[in-house]
């Protein structure tokens, strides 16, 4: 079975981001999607802490300590970018102004429910950050995650077992095995990598998958 590595997964998402799109990339693997959008293209990245037009990491002697992204990494500002406060930044998210948000996930349900902020392990204090706002607000919410847990258990489920981030919010799921759309009919496989078959992927998925159209 063909399993993409992290770089290949991020590259696959990058292919689906149109020029001129306003995009928020979540912390972790989603952030690396930007590395696969080539320099001759223009995507405008939003960072929840108040930046539109996030540019690449600065040279070490060019660091501005206040200029960080949501993952607390130093960044730069593109020509044409700007700064704003938390209220305006989240107005952009919640108000439907972002074209695409790409988030990681613990679990996704067949209805597009997203669970990515808490597990059922209560020994750690909970933390939610901006995940719930991004989940409800972006015009299209893409999830980028491995198809199964490290223990090879499915993450695409009939129902999420972990606390929800948002209900019915996911539009498309990019995993290391396939690309899957959340549709009114259910989960529709859009693309199978390499020689992966629907049966292969279904075997690692709890929710029922519909074949590609």
């Amino acid at each position: 079975m063909m399993r993409l590595n992290s770089d290949e997964m991020a590259r696959r998402v990058a292919q689906d981001i149109p020029d001129g799109a306003y995009v928020n990339l979540g912390i972790g693997m989603p952030t690396s999607v930007a590395n696969h959008v080539s320099d001759d293209r223009l995507v405008i990245y939003h960072s929840e802490n108040g930046i539109l037009g996030v540019g690449p990491a600065p040279a070490p002697d060019q660091v501005d300590p206040d200029l960080i992204n949501a993952g607390k990494q130093y960044v730069t500002l593109l020509q044409g970018g700007c700064y704003f406060d938390n209220a305006e930044s989240f107005a952009m998210m919640r108000g439907g102004h972002l074209d695409i948000a790409v988030l990681g996930a613990f679990q996704v349900s067949e209805r597009g429910d997203l669970a990515n902020w808490a597990t059922n392990d209560d020994t750690f204090p909970p933390a939610v950050g901006g995940a719930m706002d991004l989940a409800v607000g972006a015009k299209q919410l893409f999830v980028l995650m491995r198809h199964t847990t490290k223990a090879n258990e499915p993450k695409i489920l009939n129902q999420c077992h972990y606390p929800l981030t948002g209900a019915g919010v996911v539009k498309r799921i990019y995993t290391d095995l396939a690309v899957i759309d959340v549709t009114e009919e259910g989960l529709r496989v859009r693309e199978l990598y390499g020689d992966n078959t629907l049966a292969d992927v279904q075997a690692l998925t709890e929710a029922r998958l519909l074949p590609p159209l």
Partner: protein, 229 residues
């Protein structure tokens, strides 16, 4: 290299897709910060049955008054329709030919902002216990009365700014901001009339008032030359 450029070459083209029955926000307070050339383009375009959301209802024969005079407006949502010289509004109102939804000015602003920010509504103390709260949900929070006011979105916002860059970032002139920055956030399509358009990076990123994400089209006042040609 892909270049983003939201500049529209002609005022006529900028408003060409405004459909009959649209809800149209128009920025401005008194004569300050009004997109007069976009309004004139909308008048010439001729879309009818419009709902206009604006602070005032126009004076004399220009701006919103010109749309009223042309019979293009079915309803107006505003805080202060009755300025000296609002003859066209008064004429239509007395004849029962226009619907008025009167909203306190700060409530109008919050309802517009709520639409732009994805909120369903806000509880405001303004108007509590008055005629303008009649029929609305109220709630006492910590001993103080509030009125539920719901989000007010639009299909189109026509706004006036001082300068844009090609990404659609905007800066304004003095008190010309008024409703323009919040209306920019609250419409499906936002069209800005500006004095000039500069390259990306020419506006100070610390001083941009309206980030370009809220702006779909930018048109300069010079563009009227294209329309005349």
């Amino acid at each position: 290299m892909i270049v983003m450029n939201k500049t529209c070459e002609s005022l006529r083209a900028a408003v060409a897709d405004i459909a009959d029955g649209s809800v149209v926000m128009i920025g401005g307070f008194g004569n300050s910060g009004i997109p007069l050339q976009l309004i004139e383009a909308l008048r010439q375009h001729g879309a009818r049955d419009l709902t206009i959301i604006s602070n005032n209802a126009g004076v004399a024969e220009i701006g919103i008054a010109s749309l009223l005079k042309a019979g293009q407006v079915r309803k107006i949502v505003c805080s202060f329709p009755r300025s000296s010289g609002s003859i066209w509004f008064e004429r239509l109102y007395e004849a029962g030919d226009i619907e008025l939804e009167l909203v306190p000015q700060g409530t109008l602003g919050e309802r517009i902002r709520a639409a732009g920010a994805g909120l369903g509504g806000v509880y405001t103390p303004t108007g509590y216990g008055t005629r303008l709260a009649e029929g609305k949900e109220t709630k006492v929070i910590n001993g103080k009365g509030f009125v539920l006011e719901t989000a007010l979105p639009a299909d189109v916002a026509l706004i006036k700014a001082h300068r844009a860059d090609v990404w659609g970032n905007l800066i304004y002139n003095t008190a010309g901001r008024n409703f323009n920055p919040i209306m920019a956030t609250a419409a499906t399509t936002t069209i800005a009339e500006v004095s000039d358009v500069v390259s990306a990076g020419e506006l100070d990123p610390e001083c941009i008032v309206t980030p370009g994400i809220f702006v779909d089209r930018v048109v300069t006042q010079e563009a009227s030359r294209h329309d005349a040609a």
